[in-house]
Amino acid sequence: MNRSFLLLFFLLIIQPGYSQQADTISEVPSINCREMQVLMQQWLHSDNAAGLAFSNVYRGGLTTFENFYSSGNHHRVQEGSALNGIKFYSEGYSSFNDKLFARGHFKFSKYIEEDRAWSDVVNTYNGNPYIYGSSVRGNYDHQLFDLSLKVYSAAIGSFNYGFTIDYQVGDISRQRDPRTRTYMLNYSAIPSVTYSISEKSRLGLNAYYKYGKERMPNISTVQTDPNLQYYTFTGLHNVMGRVGGYKAFQRQFISDAVGGALQYNFVNQNVKLLLSAGGDLLWQETLGDKKQSPGSYNSYGFNITANLIHSSTGFVHNALLVAKYNNGGANEFRQTLFTERDTLTGVSTEYWVTDYVYKNRYVVETFDVQFSWKSIALKPNSQERKWSVGATSAFQSFENIYYLPKSEYAASKLIAGINGTMLLLDRGNHNLEISAFAQGAYSLNVLLDLESDTEVAEFILGPDFEFHSRNTIEIGGSLTYTFPLRVPKMNAMTGYARLYGENLFANKSYGWLAFGLAIGLLTF
């Protein structure tokens, strides 16, 4: 199944496919034009694949290879101080026949996270609190494969149908004692349908099921350090550290999530509006040696998306609002280990029995609202971008509470920024575009109220409190050069190279610097 999946993706990406439409205007495919078409494909902001049938993107595959580096001291304690790696991304639009179409992408990333500690899990924050890690800082090697396939149909009567399959597999490998290797697997299936009420109005509906598994089977060491401690967390500042605690330690998280969303789409000559509202439920088991469990985690969430596109002569205006709310709760267990010995065979069986459940002993809430607006000036008689200006704003907050007794940790911030792009050079198929942005984040509120002092309070939550208290200013920009590529006996292609850099400035000389170089191809 995996091999067929990968083969399908490579066919989509590498070979020129029979896409929705052929680009009959340009001699070479236009990245600018493609980006504008993807912008107009509003249904990409939802999980409803069926809606992709309502806006076309010229055939072809876009492939990017990027090398990136970022480092600084403005980061949380359980994050690394530098990221250094590569990304490979490829997406393509294709069609099976004149009624069935596909969009797929393949992402691969491999990078090293330096000087990370106190967390050996994929998702450290605002989720399952039963994480684990070592206080010794070390490098972590990350790998992630992310595949997605959206299949959607042309209209069958008033209905369009779609289906999405997502597949992610990856691992995080710690390069210093105690050495862990955490394996991750996620996959989801998302069926969808749209109903055209009229020429201008459509309703959409999608549901999804997602399965996730994260497993850390064992911990190894290459040196014998009798004083090496390993820590297991149960929420906020509550942690247990044991010398040699990494021996025989193993843990896995198994999750199931279900969800769905409703969409409404209005389209006329100048205006396109997409509204989407959805929710999801998650249930996650935490298991250790002999199926011992410190607790379980569950969450529910809501999300709203509103995407407005207004086209006028020579301009496209786009406003996007995305709001997400998530509420999670962890039930903490008290368990007893029982041993049963079969006196006939001499076989002993050990198993854990749950004696008591603290319901919702740990609760987490996150709220995230982002609004962006962009005005794009088009080239004369073209759908390509000449310049653009935009503004962004966001509100982000989280709250973690641990009960019995109550401890609380919360923070919120407001973000606002501006951005713009401009074509510096536009000579036929040779383009040079510059982009820039500036963004500021203002810390509205930070609260850390713990009922006792522990190592976590001193070494993690205290410094993280400082992190959330800092106001920041971020500036950045990029230069993108696109050029035609003609290879004998092959369809014309467009190549591009993009150089980017950004720096974040925070209070008290804290900061984060990131830069990278990406090169890519767009094929017919």
């Binding site: 280990l337 919702n360 019995l404």
Partner: protein
């Protein structure tokens, strides 16, 4: 079954999400705990104004009993607790409390005490603490060094283990004819204290030589027993201990091992080992006992369900002078109190080292509770959780370590 559970849980979550609130966990309120004095105590005596401690790995709560010997805990986190209370009396005071005539020195030390280990308190049902009387003896085990260490080549070094016995009384005590024993430590456990309230099943028993007055321990003095080798181990492992001046060495006979050190021979053993087989990571339940009976006449038993392998000699608990329960610090969940081999009347608690498998140069040592008349007195509440402390870098016969000082 898993899919049904997911479906039911999903419906519950959906309803919860629509209600947009989560039920918070609650404290237990007004939990009533009553104490029950031993039956031989006069009826009019109550356990009033006494401290009762509820503790676990996370919290320690201290309460005082009322005039009726009960207490009400206004607010408590549901969890598993160890409940401990202790009333120390002189022999003279104790004789005034009991309804019967007993023979006891006026200056003896008596505890009316109770320790309930791993009590699950998940609801507000009344609890009762049954108290028992414990008459403290003169000799106590003061140090157990079993972890071993790393030698100068960073290899595991375990031959430097020792046990120390201290005279906590004001009289000279002779160890002649007394026994030093090690309880069985099989995995899975063979004979737990919870299942065997009257006996301890031993893996090894050593018998102190002498005719009755050959090996005295002065008041405030101690003897060191080298478990394997009585020599200066610091020449092999810098962090180790010097046992060249030990009082006894566990070996077959004089002249073997360190010829200058008296032999403490193995008297009864479930294996052919000739040394005191302390396990580097634990468990090691070490105790002293004395008896006029012939120990070799006491029965031996295989592990339950077995008819071959080690046989463990059974020792009645009424012969025990003192014992310390050392548990293994399990990697996953720490010491498991359910695996105790010593009854609460011998040691109501347990001690352990920080590492899960040893080699950390740590020992468990009895605290000093007071200093007087030019000597120290060690703490003995019959509970090694209270009485013992973890020491890094043990030294035989050293009672001046600041970590041991627990002046009252």
């Amino acid at each position: 079954m898993r899919r049904i559970t997911i479906l039911v849980f999903s419906v519950q979550l959906l309803m919860l999400s629509l209600g947009c609130s989560r039920e918070e966990p609650q404290f237990l309120k007004n939990l009533r705990i009553e104490t029950k004095l031993p039956q031989n105590i006069k009826a009019e005596i109550t356990y009033d104004n006494k401290e009762v401690v509820l503790y676990n790995q996370s919290y320690t709560h201290i309460y005082k009993t009322d005039a009726a010997g009960a207490l009400v805990v206004p607010e408590l986190i549901p969890d598993v607790y160890t409940i401990n209370t202790c009333w120390e009396l002189t022999g003279e005071q104790y004789k005034e409390l009991v309804a019967e005539t007993i023979y006891l020195e006026d200056n003896a030390r008596v505890l009316i005490t109770a320790t309930l280990n791993n009590v699950p308190i998940y609801n507000e049902n009344d609890l009762e603490i049954p108290l028992e009387s414990v008459i403290l003896k003169d000799l106590v085990i003061s140090k157990v060094y079993y972890s071993g260490t790393k030698d100068d080549m960073n290899r595991s070094y375990v031959v430097d283990q020792f046990v120390e016995v201290f005279n906590n009384s004001d009289d000279i005590v002779y160890v002649d004819g007394k026994y030093l024993a090690l309880a069985e430590s099989m995995s899975p456990p063979a004979y737990l204290a919870a299942n065997n309230p009257e006996y301890i099943y031993t893996r090894q028993i050593c018998m102190f030589p002498g005719d009755g007055d050959d090996y005295p321990i002065l008041p405030g003095g101690s003897i060191v027993i080298a478990a394997r080798s009585a020599r200066d181990h610091t020449t092999s492992a810098m962090n180790s201990v010097d046992l060249s001046a030990a009082d006894f060495e566990v070996k077959d006979s004089d002249g073997m091992g360190n010829p200058a050190i008296k032999a403490l021979p193995m008297y009864s053993s479930s294996t052919s080992l000739k040394f005191f087989n302390l396990i580097t990571g634990g468990p090691n339940a070490v105790f002293l006992f004395e008896t006029e009976e012939d120990v070799l006449e006491w029965p031996e038993f295989y592990a339950p369900g077995r008819s071959s392998g080690e046989r463990f000699r059974r020792v009645p608990i009424e012969t025990v002078i003192d014992g310390v329960e050392v548990l293994k610090n399990e990697a996953a969940n720490g010491p498991n109190i359910d695996l105790k081999r010593l009854q609460n009347s011998i040691d109501a608690g347990f001690a352990f080292i920080s590492a899960t498998s040893g080699y950390v140069n740590e020992s468990v040592e009895r605290k000093v509770c007071r200093i007087g008349e030019g000597r120290v007195y060690l703490q003995d509440t019959n509970n090694s959780v209270e009485d013992f402390v973890l020491i890094s870098g043990p030294q035989p016969k050293d009672y001046e370590n600041p970590q041991l000082l627990n002046l009252q």
